[in-house]
Amino acid sequence: MFEKVLFGGKREQQVIEDIKRHIEILHAASGCFRKALAENDKQQLYCIADLEREADSIRREIISKVYEGAFLPYLRSNLVRFVEIVEGVFDLLKDAAYAFEFLDQTLDKEISGECVEIADKNLKMSELLLIAFETLFGKEDLREKTLAIRIYEKQVDEIKHDLIRKLSEKEVKNFWRGKMLSDFVDSLTRISNVIEDASDYLVIINVSLR
């Protein structure tokens, strides 16, 4: 009993490890997506669905362990909410991959550069999210990490405006191609928003016990 109280129970350790693993998978999925986009290779997108399935099962594990009583009650709902926000990033990655896969052609040269740049920034943001989560154990400043995430998000916003301007100038020859392209850009550019939401939620978690 005292071991549990003094050093934190196994359940708490497992939840922490699972959350880390969940974010690591997000980083892996973001990397996989970026590579597929940079190489214009739709075959590589299959890894996203596999990683999303793995992340989904980890998310379920985390939620069940938290509701079995891991951590103080004040922390439980916030941790679950954080994991659900990260899950939202997986959904957007999956949607973007799905739309990219169903584009009948590869990305046009005018916009592919911006798309790869956004995917690259999403990858860096997911890495920063993991580092930000790890600051909850040590003395490093969480605000620095969340600030870096916010800066990346602002950069993605700027690229998004250029991208939308270029897209609006393009002629839409086919409804489904237009829709898929629009869905793809929409999902791709929303990923950074949701990662920023997740990092903001880490700040809330960090102050919730104080």
Binding site: L72, Y74, I205
Partner: protein, 310 residues
Amino acid sequence: MTELIPLAACILIAFGIGSNDTSNALGICIGCGVIRLQKALLLFGCFVLLGIMIQGQRVMETVGKDLLEVNVPIMSTALSISALLIIVSNWKRLPLSTHQVIIGSLIGAGVSSGAEVSYRALIEIVISWVVSPLAAFATALAIYKAMEMTISRLALFPLEKVLRILLLLSGILISYNTGANELATIVGPVIHAGMIARTPASLAGSLFVFLGAVLLSKRVIETIGKGITTLDPYSGFAAQFGAGVCVLFFTSLGMPISTTYCIIGGISGVGMSKGIKTVRMGLVRKIIANWFLAPTLAFLGSALIMRLIS
């Protein structure tokens, strides 16, 4: 045969303490999942016994010897009225303090039967009733400020672990005080009337508190536990530990004081650190009214019954 009346009343009151006050001590820990119910009950029982065995003597002397010379008729009346008032207050959900009811009943029965009451001891007790919630207020506020300057700077997960340990320590302290102060107030008169020796009285008292906790505390704890999910454990610890330290201090002076009133003082102290508007003054007025009501009712009830018996 009449000697059985105060003993039976003591058993009833001890049983009542077990059923109601376990939540005071370990409700937060159970609600937060720091400790499971069965382990909490065992821990509560052990520390109640330790409290009365190690530090119960002073409070027993104050209530059973210094306040007035107790005899069987005084105790039969006072403890029966106390048991009745405590049962009715629990049933009607009126938060009456066990200490105030017992002291009020003893004084009522003593004055009515012409026994010599030490007004000096009574004044000291009443002063401690006034000072203890205020001291708990100040202690909790100081603990809260100290926590802000120390453990608040820890990273989140280490802070969570520290809070778990502190919550358990605080629960243990309140359990200890329940034995050293609350149970000592109940068994003090019967011990000093020579009806039962100190060690068997302490063992039996602790046993009945434990039985009350095992048989009847679960629902109260569940209610507290559900309420605790929205309670901030950080402030909760400062309030509870501040109250615990305060009760321990008054116990060492031999003063029978209410843990509940000290916890209320502690909560108000923590609330005050966030501004006076966070303290619900309507509720404070109600608590002050009960503070006067409990000893007055007990005094009048005991005095009346004693007069009728005489």
